[in-house]
C-alpha cells in the first residue's frame, strides 16, 4: 500500500467521499470554501478524474454528518493534501467502475473509456454508466491509493481557469450563513467578558423587556435574546453590563518590543556549534498585532432539539470545532452536528469559532429555540483572535565577499496556534471552566508557526534559532494568513538587502549568489526581468524598487515579489510584479486571484495595520480605527506563473505575504535611503527613523 495523503489515510472509505445518484455525483469533502476558491479547484480535480462534467457534481463540504474529517482548512494544504486525497479517491472509483463494466462486457478495462459518466467501448456507448453500475460497485471499501490518476497530458478540466462555482449565488444576494434563517429563530448576542478572568457583577435586566428581549446566563456567560437584530442591538446597549476583576493593559503592550520584556518559553533549534569568528551584521524587525478584519462580523446559527445540537458556522474545521464544543459543553461529540456555511473572507483563525460556540451554548440554554448569533463590528475587532505581534532578530557572520556563512535568529512572539479546546472565548466564562494549560506550539522549522520560514531557503551553511514563545500577550492571538512566516520572511528578505548593500552587490544578484535551487533561481530571474530590475537606479531618489522572495514553509508555493514605490514622508505603491511557481496550477486564474489577494493583504498590513490597546483591552473598535488599503492606493499588479505543470500542485494562498511586505520595505529603503524595520511603515515610522 502506498503512503496515502493525510486526509485519505484518516478517511479511507470511498463512500465517505463519493456517491452516485440520479445522474449526479455527490462529492463530500472536509476542506471548505473560505473565499479562496477551493470548492471550484477541488471540483475540477473530481470531475477530471471521474470523467464527468463539472455540473454533475453536487458538492457538500464541511459537515460532521456527511463529510470526511479533514481537520482544518488551513496552512495552504487544501490542494496539496485535500486535493491529492480526492484525486486518488476519484481515480480509484473510476477504476472500480471500469473493472466492473469490463467484467460485464467481457472485455479489458483498457478497452473502455468514460465520457461524462457514460462508459464507452471503442468510442460507442455500452449502455453502462456510473449510475447504472452504482448498485453493483460497492464503495464501502477502503482506498488503496493504487489506481493511477490521469497523466497531465490527458487533463481537460484541471489546468483550466474554470469559473468560481459559488460566486453567482453570492451575487444574487444569498449564500452566506448570515443569510440563513430557521423557523422561530431568535437573535442573540453574548455580553462579552471584556478581559480574561473578569466577572459579571450586574446587568440591567429590567431594561430588556422594553425591547422584547431577555437574558440567559450561566456563570459569567451572559447573552441577550431578542426577536430581531435592531431590537437586539438596542437591548445589548440597554443591558449595560458591569464587570469586575478586569485587568487594565497599557498602550505600550501593543508594540512588538513589549514582548521582549516578558517571560517566555525558550526553545532552540539548529546548529549547536557557536557561530564562527568574522564580520557580523545584526538587525531586528517586527510587526504589531494584526486583525483578520473579515468584512462581515462572525455569525452562526444553532438549534438544540431532541438531544441533538446542530450548528451552522463558517469555521475552518467543522470536526475540530465539534470536539471543542463537546468538551466545553461536556457532552458526546456525536450529539453535535456541525455544518459549514459560507462566511466572509477567512484569513485564518478569526471569530468564526467563537461565534459558533456562542450560538451553541445559547442554544443549549434554550432548547427548542433556534438561535442566530451575529457579532458587532466592535466585538469582531476587539475579540476575534489577532495575528500576534512578533519580533525577529537576525545576526549573520559574513565571509570575505560579504556573503552570510552563519545565521542566528531570535524570534519573540505570542502564539500563532490557539484553537485547542477550552481556548474559545465563551469557554472561559462558563461555571465549569477549567484552568488552561500554557499554549502548545511547536518550534520545529517545518511546518512551524512562529518559526515558520525562519530557516533560510538560501545556501547558508549554518543556522540556529531561538524561539521565545510568550504566553502572556495582552490580547488573544492565533493563526493569521502566513503565521510567523510573514515576519520571518520580512526579516530575512530585508536583512539580505542590508547585507547586499553592505557588500556593494545588487540585491537581486546577491540573492542569486545564495540560491542554487533551480526553480527558485528561475523565479528571481524572471521577476527581475519583468520589473526591468537592471535599470534600477541609485538609492535615495524618492522612487525605489525592492524585492522579496520565499518558498512558503520551504516546501509549498514559491513567490518573488518586486515593488516600485514613491516615498517621501509616506510610501505610495506604484507598481507590483510577482512571479510564482505553483507546480501544476489546477485553476490558473484561481492561483492568480490568491496571489493578488495575498499581495494586497500583505501590502495593507505592511503599510497601515496595527491593533491598538488601551486599559479596556483592544482599543480598535471600528474601521475608522483600522484603515486598510483602498482602491486608489492599489497599483497595477502583474503576475507571471512559471510553467511547471509536471510538478505537484502547491498551495498559493499565503506564499506572497512575507515577500510582499519585504519588497515594500526594501523599495522604501531604496527610495528613501532609510531602513524601516518595523511594520507598519507609516509616516510616523519614517519620521521617527529619520530622526535616529
Amino acid at each position: 500500500m502506498t503512503d496515502l495523503p493525510k486526509s485519505l489515510a484518516d478517511n479511507p472509505r470511498l463512500d465517505r467521499w463519493l456517491r452516485f445518484e440520479t445522474g449526479q455525483v455527490h462529492v463530500t469533502v472536509g476542506k471548505v470554501e473560505i473565499g479562496q476558491g477551493i470548492a471550484t479547484a477541488l471540483a475540477q480535480i473530481a470531475a477530471e478524474e471521474l470523467d464527468v462534467a463539472l455540473d454533475r457534481l453536487a458538492w457538500r463540504a464541511g459537515d460532521t454528518q456527511l463529510a470526511p474529517d479533514e481537520g482544518s482548512t488551513s496552512s495552504s494544504l487544501s490542494i496539496e493534501i485535500g486535493g491529492a486525497s480526492l484525486r486518488l479517491v476519484c481515480a480509484e472509483t473510476r477504476a472500480l467502475f471500469l473493472a466492473e463494466a469490463a467484467r460485464l462486457l467481457n472485455t479489458a478495462p483498457e478497452a473502455l473509456a468514460i465520457e461524462d459518466g457514460t462508459i464507452l467501448h471503442d468510442g460507442s456507448p455500452t449502455g453502462h454508466d456510473y449510475w447504472t453500475l452504482a448498485p453493483r460497485v460497492s464503495l464501502v471499501r477502503d482506498a488503496t491509493g493504487t489506481a493511477p490518476p490521469k497523466p497531465r497530458a490527458k487533463h481537460r478540466i484541471v489546468g483550466t481557469s474554470t469559473a468560481r462555482r459559488d460566486l453567482p449565488e453570492k451575487l444574487a444576494g444569498r449564500g452566506f450563513v448570515h443569510d440563513m434563517t430557521l423557523p422561530g429563530m431568535v437573535h442573540a448576542r453574548v455580553l462579552r467578558q471584556p478581559r480574561p478572568g473578569a466577572t459579571l457583577a450586574a446587568v440591567n435586566e429590567a431594561a430588556l423587556s422594553r425591547h422584547g428581549a431577555r437574558l440567559v446566563r450561566s456563570g459569567d456567560f451572559a447573552a441577550i435574546l431578542a426577536p430581531s437584530e435592531p431590537a437586539l442591538r438596542a437591548a445589548v446597549q440597554a443591558a449595560a453590563p458591569r464587570w469586575d476583576n478586569c485587568d487594565a493593559p497599557t498602550p505600550d503592550t501593543a508594540e512588538a518590543a513589549w514582548l521582549a520584556t516578558q517571560p517566555a518559553d525558550v526553545r532552540t533549534r539548529g546548529s549547536e556549534a557557536p557561530p564562527p569568528a568574522g564580520p557580523t551584521h545584526e538587525a531586528t524587525y517586527s510587526r504589531p498585532y494584526i486583525s483578520h478584519a473579515s468584512l462581515g462580523p462572525s455569525c452562526a446559527l444553532a438549534h438544540e432539539q431532541n438531544g441533538i445540537l446542530e450548528v451552522w458556522t463558517h469555521v475552518q474545521g467543522v470536526y475540530p470545532f465539534r470536539l471543542n464544543a463537546a468538551q466545553t459543553l461536556q457532552r458526546d461529540p456525536e450529539s453535535i452536528i456541525v455544518r459549514h456555511a459560507h462566511g466572509p473572507g477567512c484569513y485564518g483563525h478569526n471569530g468564526a469559532d467563537d461565534a459558533a460556540l456562542d450560538a451553541a451554548i445559547i442554544a443549549t440554554l434554550v432548547p427548542g429555540t433556534p438561535i442566530r448569533v451575529l457579532w458587532s463590528r466592535a466585538d469582531e475587532f476587539a475579540f476575534s483572535p489577532a495575528g500576534t505581534a512578533m519580533q525577529t532578530t537576525l545576526r549573520a557572520v559574513l565571509d570575505d565577499e560579504g556573503l552570510p556563512i552563519d545565521l542566528t535568529a531570535t524570534i519573540t512572539s505570542g502564539v500563532h496556534v490557539n484553537r485547542a479546546p477550552g481556548r474559545l472565548l465563551a469557554s472561559r466564562t462558563l461555571p465549569n471552566a477549567q484552568p488552561l494549560p500554557p499554549p502548545a506550539e511547536s518550534s520545529d522549522p517545518y511546518p512551524g508557526a512562529g518559526t515558520r520560514n525562519i530557516v533560510p531557503y538560501y545556501d547558508i551553511p549554518a543556522w540556529r534559532y531561538t524561539h521565545n514563545l510568550v504566553a502572556g500577550t495582552p490580547i488573544r492571538t492565533s493563526a493569521l494568513r502566513g503565521l510567523g512566516a510573514v515576519v520571518n520572511v520580512f526579516a530575512l528578505e530585508c536583512f539580505l538587502d542590508e547585507l547586499a548593500d553592505r557588500a556593494g552587490i545588487d540585491p537581486a544578484a546577491y540573492r542569486l549568489r545564495l540560491l542554487s535551487e533551480p526553480r527558485a533561481r528561475n523565479l528571481v530571474e524572471r521577476a527581475a526581468a519583468l520589473s526591468n530590475w537592471s535599470a534600477r537606479g541609485p538609492a535615495g531618489s524618492g522612487t525605489g524598487l525592492g524585492m522579496g522572495f520565499a518558498r512558503y514553509k520551504n516546501k509549498s508555493g514559491y513567490a518573488c515579489v518586486v515593488v516600485e514605490v514613491e516615498a517621501d514622508s509616506e510610501i505610495r505603491l506604484r507598481r507590483i510584479w510577482c512571479t510564482a511557481d505553483s507546480g501544476l496550477a489546477v485553476n490558473p486564474d484561481g492561483v492568480r486571484a490568491q496571489l493578488e489577494g495575498g499581495i494586497i493583504q500583505a501590502a495593507s498590513m505592511a503599510l497601515k495595520e496595527q491593533l491598538r490597546i488601551d486599559a479596556t483591552g483592544t482599543a480598535t473598535k471600528s474601521w475608522a480605527d483600522y484603515p486598510i488599503l483602498r482602491f486608489s492606493e492599489i497599483p497595477p499588479i502583474d503576475i507571471e506563473l512559471m510553467d511547471t505543470p509536471d510538478e505537484p500542485p502547491l498551495g498559493m494562498g499565503e506564499c506572497t505575504m512575507g515577500p510582499t511586505a519585504a519588497a515594500i520595505a526594501n523599495a522604501a529603503a531604496h527610495a528613501l535611503g532609510l531602513r524601516l524595520r518595523d511594520m507598519p511603515l507609516t509616516r510616523e515610522r519614517i519620521v521617527e527613523t529619520a530622526r535616529k
Binding site: 460566486l167 453570492k170 449564500g175 468584512l295 466572509p344 473572507g345 483602498r630 492599489i634
Partner: protein, 149 residues
C-alpha cells in the same frame, strides 16, 4: 407603517420609523443581498441606491424614505455589472460584492465611461478585505464597455 418602493415594488414595512433600512431589507423583506458589515457606514457592504444615489443602508432610517425608490443588488440582477463581476471573477469571499455592484451601478449611471482613476475614487469608500480590487476595477470597465454597445 412606511411604504418603500423596493426594486420597483411598493412594500409596507411594519418596523418603527427609526429602524435602519438594512434591517428592514434583510430582516423584514428577506432581501439578504445587502450585507451587514459594520452598521457604522464605514465599509459599504450594505450599499443600496435611493432614488439612484448610493446610500449605506445601515445608517438610513426608514422613516426618512417613505415613497422613495430603493434599489438593492436583487434589483440589479440584469445590470451589466453583475455579469461583468462574474466574467472577471472579481470576488474571493464575495461578501463585499453587492456593495461593489451597487456603487458601480451608481457611478456608471452618472459617468458612463469612467477612467480607471474615476472608478477607484468612486469605489474608495467600499472596503474589500480579500484583495479583489484589481478585478473589481476591471469588471467596472467591462460593464462600461458592455453598456456602450
Amino acid at each position: 407603517m412606511t411604504v418603500l418602493i423596493v426594486n420597483r415594488t411598493p412594500r409596507d414595512s411594519a418596523s418603527p420609523a427609526t429602524t435602519p433600512l438594512l434591517d428592514v431589507l434583510r430582516g423584514e423583506f428577506r432581501l439578504t443581498g445587502s450585507r451587514f458589515g459594520c452598521g457604522e457606514e464605514q465599509c459599504g457592504a450594505c450599499l443600496v441606491l435611493v432614488d439612484g444615489a448610493p446610500v449605506q443602508s445601515c445608517g438610513r432610517e426608514i422613516g426618512t424614505l417613505g415613497g422613495r425608490a430603493v434599489t438593492t443588488i436583487e434589483g440589479l440582477q440584469d445590470h451589466p455589472i453583475v455579469a461583468a463581476l462574474i466574467a472577471e471573477q472579481a470576488g474571493q469571499c464575495g461578501y463585499c460584492l453587492s456593495g461593489m455592484a451597487v456603487a458601480a451601478a451608481a457611478l456608471l449611471a452618472r459617468t458612463p465611461t469612467p477612467s480607471r482613476a474615476e472608478i477607484a475614487a468612486a469605489l474608495d469608500p467600499q472596503l474589500c478585505r480579500c484583495g479583489a480590487h484589481p478585478r473589481i476595477l476591471r469588471a467596472v470597465e467591462r460593464a462600461s464597455q458592455e453598456m456602450a454597445r
